[in-house]
Structure formats: C-alpha cells, structure tokens
C-alpha cells in the first residue's frame, strides 16, 4: 500500500514538473500563424544560444536529424515574464543538453517550436523546483 502511495506521489511530482517546465508565450503576437497547435514535435540537443530578451526570448540548440546537424529555434516568453518565473539569462548556458517538445513551426523547412516543454534529457526540470511564484521573485 505504501509502495502504491509513493508511486502515486511520484506520478504527481512528474506531472507537476511537466506543467512547471512549460514555458509561457505571452501577449505580443498570436502563435497560430507561426505554430501548429494540432501537432507536437520533440527534439534533443545542445544549447547554442539563449536570447533572454523582450518582446520574446529565443532558445537555439543543435540537434542531430538523420546524421545532419539541425538548428532549432524555440520561442519563449518575454524576459520580464520569464524572470517572474525564476528564469535568468544563465538558466540555459551554451553546451547544456536539453529535451524539448512543443508545437512545430508552420514555415516550410523551418525548425521552430513554441509553447515548449523544456527539460534535461532525463526529464528533470531545468529550473530547480520549477517555476517560482511572484511573491518569491528574486531581487531585481
């Protein structure tokens, strides 16, 4: 019984972490013309650049696709919004291995995602403890 309860709590932790690592895209443009909300893609690779900026942040990483190197561009929320959830410009340093799933970009031949869930390759969250609340926001 105890084992089952721990299994349940473990599942809760995994579910919460999954929610907590979904990065918000907020209020600058609609995602619909850019990304297909009916599909999900997943990729894994090494961070090359983290543009922690307004109006939207962008994460770039290289992934292997059938033996060819592909650069992915992941659209994230505004730097201001990410800061409120515990992210900093150093959260994703070049060289960090990540796994990303999200809505794929619509443009032919492009490799982009939005509304992404970003974790380490083993599925653990990028930000320890997930998102923080505004009341626990780090000093500016």
């Amino acid at each position: 019984m105890i084992g089952r309860r721990w299994t349940a709590l473990g599942a809760l932790a995994v579910a919460a972490a999954a929610i907590l690592t979904v990065v918000p895209v907020i209020a600058h443009h609609s995602s619909a013309p850019f990304y297909d909300s009916t599909k999900t893609v997943e990729a894994q690779g090494t961070v090359t650049k983290f543009l922690f900026k307004n109006p939207h942040s962008f994460l770039y990483f290289d992934a292997d696709e059938n033996g060819k190197k592909v650069e992915w561009q992941i659209e994230l929320g505004a730097a201001g919004g990410l800061t409120r959830t515990g992210w900093t410009p150093d959260t994703l340093k070049p060289g960090t291995l990540i796994k990303v799933s999200g809505r794929p970009s619509r443009a032919e031949g492009s490799h982009g995602m939005c509304c992404a869930k970003i974790t380490r390759p083993d599925g653990t969250p990028i930000v320890t403890g997930g998102r923080v609340t505004e009341e626990q926001q780090p000093p500016r």
Binding site: H29, F34, G77, R131
Partner: protein, 260 residues
C-alpha cells in the same frame, strides 16, 4: 485490507489530481484569471465623488488581474468593432510579417492599456503620467488646457484630461497612421482620425478603466472595453523593456509568407 488499500490509493490519486489542478490553475500561469492576494491600500486611495481620485502607484495588469490579450480578448463577440469596407479591405490584405511590432515599434492605444504588464501612474497638478512597463512607453495627460502643436503627432498621440465625479477622463488624438493600431491580433489599422477616450476610477483596491475608441476612417461606430489593474506588491519597480530587434523579428521566419 485490499479494499482499504484500493481506497487509500484512490484518495492519494484524488489528492494528486487536486494538487496538479491547483498548480495548473495557479495565478502565475498565463491565460487564467485569478484573484489577487490581499493588499490593503491606504484609506486615502479611495475615490470620493467630486474629489481628485488617488490613482497613483504601480498597478499590475498581468494575469493576476485579467485574462491575457488575444484575438478574442479584450475584443470579443459582444464588443468587437464594426469595421467599414476600408478596414475590411485592409484586414484582407494584411500581412502579419509587416506588423511594426516585429521591429520594436511600441503598441498604441487602445492596445497598450490591455497588455499584460504593469503600469505606473503619477499625478501632478498639471499632468498625469502613465508609464507602461511594456515597450517603455510614457504618456503625458495634460490637465492645464495645453494645446497640441504640429509636432505632437505620434504613436501615442496627444492627451488631455480632467477629473470628474471621482474619475480621471482622458481624451487622446493626434495619432499617426498605424497598420496595427487597433490591437496586436486582428490586423485592424488605425488612422490619424483615431480618438481614444479613457475613464479611470478606483473600485476598492482596484484601478479600473473603460477605453473607448472611435476612428471614422475604419470603424462604423465607437467600440469599448473595460479592464482592471490590481495593486502591485510593495517595492515593485518597473523593468526596462529594452525591446531587442533580433528577438522581435525572430519569430517571423517561422510563419509561411503570405506574399512572395
């Protein structure tokens, strides 16, 4: 024992589901309207009829206060503007890629009031200053019968205001043409004939506004929405926006081009 185990496991799953839902619906998640944490303002902040309302402070317009803006918010089925033929023609040929926001041009009224960021209000005897965290914009509302000059045409226009019945009334004109000057989502332009009327008032701890826009070049009749802000937490300072041109335009290449 087996029944008890099943019940216990069921309870655990039940609590797990409740906890996950609580996290998923927490106020920090965009798109979800949530109640604000209690913050009691000074008694002097309460608006009184025929007196100048105390609107000063930093106000939170994020998802704590209201749903995030989108194609249907704040302009929904009940208040979506009636577009004339000219506006419909512009909307039909509109190409998202040429929207000036992808080159860091700031949002204008009536959109900037609803962007999900904070706003600081400063009340001086001859003017009210509205500073928006989004796009680093500062609007000046003149209370002293100041008249616009030919140099006052701008994205934010020229604003005059007055206090009336416990509210601040603001009238703004002298806008320049803006191909997305109505909002960020629906491809509706605004013209140099656009006029925006705002009414700000206090309701308890909240700051409320009704924004009404008229533009005979594009709208058949005025359209309006009402929104609210909540008091920001003590000590909060507005961040610099510092729009980055590379980050502003990076998304465009992910969209299939409308024109080649």
């Amino acid at each position: 024992m087996r029944n008890f185990t099943r019940r216990a496991t069921g309870r655990t799953w039940g609590w797990a589901a409740v906890a996950v839902m609580a996290i998923a619906l927490s106020p920090s998640r965009p798109g979800i309207q949530a109640q604000a944490p209690a913050q009691t303002p000074p008694a002097a902040n309460a608006a009184r009829p025929n007196q100048i309302p105390d609107l000063a402070g930093i106000w939170d317009g994020t998802t704590r206060a209201r749903p995030v803006n989108s194609e249907r918010i704040p302009w929904g089925k009940d208040n979506f503007p009636e577009l004339n033929e000219r506006a419909l023609a512009y909307q039909k040929v509109f190409d998202e890629a040429l929207s000036p926001k992808y080159d860091c041009q700031p949002a204008s009224s009536p959109a900037i009031q609803y962007d999900p960021y904070s706003m600081e209000v400063t009340q001086w005897p001859d003017r009210v200053l509205l500073r928006y965290e989004k796009d680093d914009q500062l609007r000046t509302v003149w209370l002293n019968d100041r008249k616009p000059t030919i140099y006052d045409w701008s994205i934010q226009g020229f604003s005059v205001g007055r206090y009336e019945n416990g509210a601040l009334l603001v009238d703004t004109d002298h806008f320049v043409f803006d191909i997305t000057g109505f909002d960020d989502y629906n491809g509706i332009p605004s013209s140099q004939l656009k006029k925006v009327h705002e009414r700000y008032w206090r309701e308890g701890t909240e700051l409320k506004v009704t924004v009404t826009v008229e533009d005979e070049m594009f709208l058949k009749k005025p359209a309006s929405y009402t929104a609210r802000w909540l008091p920001q937490r003590p000590g909060y300072k507005l961040d610099a926006w510092d729009c980055d041109p590379e980050a502003a335009r990076a998304a465009v290449k992910m969209m299939p081009p409308k024109y080649k």
